[in-house]
């Protein structure tokens, strides 16, 4: 009992001592380390001062993250190929992340001081701004001249005099797409009034082999919110869309409810809309003639066999069209900030010229790109859309958890229109702020 401790005992005590010491050290650190400061900023006007990013002298590899797969990815790859051709010292690898997946993955990585990519795309301007305000993104002010872009396009990503995202090409969600050949074969015409629209739906429903007049795209939920917003803009006006996005108007307000009750719900109850079908599968089924109409964005033009067979019409009386863009941002934690900024700047300018010339079905937001630079089928769409006023996407503007709720509640409304009041009340009660 009273013998001297053995070597093993000493080692044991030494290790225990290290652990205890580490714990005490941790505790002291906990008590003394100053928490990282979070900068809270407010929106101000940004002045442009051109800055140039140097071309690297050594070979650098950048990771670009975007939401495009399939045909959309092929179109975007052409843009990256052009960049690599012009900048042989920069290799670019493209990786796919949907906006909702990116939001899940990127935030924890940012918190850990890491970045999943060097240049990243997302359609969620609100998210870019939020990440910028948390200090995770590089300030891209000065890289481009905002006056050379579509007016107001920097607003969602600007905060405290800093621009956290650059706009890429834009899309629009203009109305119901149809196949010209299908309409010709069945003697159908674009409607000019709401009554004509209803008559059109009735006629389509009577066509043999047609499952439902309008196919409903599904996925995480955005296709359903797009068509809903189109009804809001048509029958409630652009003002209603803007007020709903800002929270000035509640979803259970009688005038909003009237739009749903008088126009959307009757169509759902009569079975004019199909059950929600995964949106790319819905394209195939609509194209095969199982459905006649499909409410979708302009990128649809690049996803069909023959874009010249495509026609579209907005709901009669609609004056606004939802437009949006994909924003480019650079995480603060990139290992190649200068090269990443160089790529971001190129994508927001010359890259747009390349992209709109592909089958991507997009418009340029950089005003130095001419109509003639666009892919021919998109020039026709552009012509038709120029008569409508651009409106921001409602759920992309609000963002956050409410966006997912909006999608989810609309899915519920689609399969159970009788729950209209529940849906509107839920959307109102959970609206942020």
């Amino acid at each position: 009992m009273g013998s001297a401790p053995t070597v093993t005992t000493k080692i044991t005590f030494l290790i225990i001592g290290i652990i205890v010491g580490a714990l005490i050290g941790y505790g002291l650190g906990y008590a003394t380390i100053t928490p990282r400061e979070v900068t809270v900023t407010s929106t101000t006007t940004v002045t442009y001062q051109a800055t140039a990013s140097p071309t690297p002298t050594e070979k650098v590899k950048l990771i670009v993250i975007g939401p495009w797969a399939g045909a959309e990815m092929e179109a975007f790859q052409q843009v990256l190929d052009k960049f690599m051709e012009e900048h042989p010292n920069i290799e670019v690898e493209y990786r796919i992340y949907r906006a909702e997946d990116l939001a899940s993955v990127a935030l924890p990585q940012f918190e850990a001081g890491m970045a999943p990519g060097d240049v990243i795309f997302t359609a969620w301007g609100w998210w870019v701004k939020e990440m910028g305000e948390k200090g995770h993104l590089l300030d891209l002010s000065g890289l481009v001249n905002p006056d050379e872009f579509v007016s107001g396009i920097f607003d969602p990503v600007t905060s405290g005099g800093k621009i956290y995202g650059l706009p890429f090409t834009a899309w629009a969600k203009p109305g119901f797409w149809y196949r010209k050949s299908f309409f010709q074969a069945h003697g159908l015409q674009e409607p000019k009034t709401w009554d004509e629209f209803l008559q059109l739906l009735d006629k389509i429903k009577g066509i043999s082999g047609v499952e439902a007049p309008i196919v409903t795209g599904d996925g995480v939920g955005w296709p359903i919110s797009d068509v809903t917003e189109h009804f809001i803009i048509t029958f409630g006006g652009i003002d209603m869309q803007l007020k709903l996005a800002s929270g000035e108007l509640k979803f259970n307000d009688p005038q909003v409810r009237a739009v749903f009750e008088n126009y959307l719900v009757p169509l759902l109850e009569k079975g004019y809309f199909s059950e929600p079908i995964e949106w790319t599968k819905a394209i195939e089924e609509w194209w095969s003639g199982r459905y006649a109409l499909y409410f979708m964005g302009t990128w649809l033009t690049g996803m069909v066999e023959d874009p010249n067979d495509l026609g579209f019409f907005p709901l009669p009386g609609c004056e606004g069209v939802v437009m949006g863009t994909d924003y480019i941002f650079v995480p603060k934690y990139t290992e190649h900030p200068e090269e990443a900024k160089l790529l971001a700047k190129w994508l927001a300018t010359e890259g747009q010229r390349v992209h709109v010339g592909t089958h991507a079905g997009k418009f340029a937001t950089w005003l130095k790109v001419s109509v003639e630079d666009h892919w021919a089928p998109m020039q026709v769409v552009y012509e038709k859309l120029s008569k409508m006023k651009p409106v921001p996407d409602l759920d992309d503007t609000v963002g956050g958890d409410w966006q997912k709720l909006f999608w989810d509640q609309l899915k519920l409304l689609w399969v159970d229109p009788g729950k209209l009041d529940d849906v509107l009340n839920t959307l109102t009660e959970n609206f942020p702020g």
């Binding site: 053995t6 093993t8 005992t9 080692i11 044991t12 290790i15 225990i16 652990i19 941790y26 650190g29 906990y30 008590a31 380390i33 100053t34 928490p35 990282r36 979070v38 909702e100 939001a103 899940s104 993955v105 935030l107 924890p108 918190e111 599904d218 995480v220 939920g221 059950e275 929600p276 956050g400 958890d401 997912k404 989810d408 509640q409 899915k411 519920l412 689609w414 399969v415 159970d416 729950k419 529940d422 849906v423 839920t426």
Partner: protein
């Protein structure tokens, strides 16, 4: 007994494992609990916003996504994630037990039973995220095998995409999970059956016992230890169910198939609200602990017996 005494030498062998457990198990658990109480467990970060206390627990419990009293009262979906988890257990557990034991007994006496068992076990081999997509396809109106079977059996009027309707979304996921989980129960019961003393069953046959009597009076009682394990593992699996729901319905429509683990994920990944996410995780742990304790107790009793 002297040889079992813990000498410093022996203790030193535990230390590496102890360090790993402390760092990767104990600390995260403590950190999660602290976080749920709005106490910052990571110095130098600002992941906690509110004052220390039970505020997050109040917020979670009063969140309709966690518990929807109106839905429960009217017996209509959504009823809240915790109720959905309970419904999941209430349906999935008995079904999976029945399927497991019946298939195990049946396949024991069928030629080529081991091959069929392998096919059943496929459900367990498939990643659950893929399983979720398979469930979604299985219940699709046009492509789904479930609706094809319904049509073939003259019940075509029931054919619809089950996962998109609030009244059927949760049930379709539960039924799908029975298929995915049955591989486990069949394998467990098959292993249990092969270890039963054959002379007991043969004696029953000699005494004139029919199959029903042998099954209910001999096989099932003798498989009690296996059943306890299957019950505990199934309840734990049902409580932490996530990937199936995430891949197939995302908890919708209208939250009709939301579950606790998905709610935890939404707080974490969607909102970046780590404290609220930790609160749901802690509640989930509190719900799981009694099940684990009962299981351990039953195993120890079995061991003593």
């Amino acid at each position: 007994m002297t040889s079992l005494r813990m000498s410093p030498t022996r203790i030193s062998f535990f230390i590496p494992a102890l360090i790993l457990i402390l760092v990767f198990v104990v600390y995260p658990i403590i950190a999660t609990i602290l976080l749920s109480l709005n106490i910052n467990p990571i110095p130098g970060t600002e992941i906690v916003e509110g004052a220390p206390g039970l505020e997050n627990y109040v917020k979670v419990v009063s969140d309709k996504r966690f518990l929807n009293p109106k839905g429960v009262e009217q017996a209509s979906f959504p009823m809240g994630a915790i109720v959905h988890n309970v419904i999941w257990i209430a349906i999935h557990l008995p079904l999976t037990l029945v399927v497991g034991i019946l298939f195990a007994v049946f396949l024991q006496y069928v030629k080529g039973g081991s091959i069929i068992r392998s096919f059943i076990f496929l459900g367990m081999v498939i990643p659950m995220i893929v399983g979720g997509l398979l469930i979604q396809f299985s219940f699709d109106k046009d492509l789904g095998v479930v609706n094809l079977l319904l049509k073939a059996s003259g019940l075509g009027f029931l054919a619809k995409t089950w996962t998109i309707y609030p009244d059927t979304a949760l049930f379709s996921l539960i039924l799908g999970s029975v298929w995915l989980w049955s591989g486990f129960t069949v394998t467990m019961y098959s292993a249990g059956l092969s270890s039963l003393p054959r002379e007991v069953i043969e004696a029953a046959i000699v005494d004139g016992a029919d199959f029903k009597t042998i099954l209910f009076k001999i096989i099932i009682p003798m498989l009690k230890p296996v059943t306890l394990t299957v019950v505990a593992m199934t309840i734990l699996w049902d409580l932490k169910i996530f990937d199936i729901v995430y891949a197939s319905t995302q908890g919708g429509p209208g939250g009709a198939s939301n579950v606790l683990a998905l709610l935890m994920y939404e707080y974490f990944a969607r909102l970046g609200d780590y404290a609220m996410s930790a609160t749901v995780a802690t509640i989930l742990t509190l719900v799981v602990i009694p099940v684990v304790l009962l299981w351990i107790r039953s195993i120890m009793r079995g061991g003593e017996g």
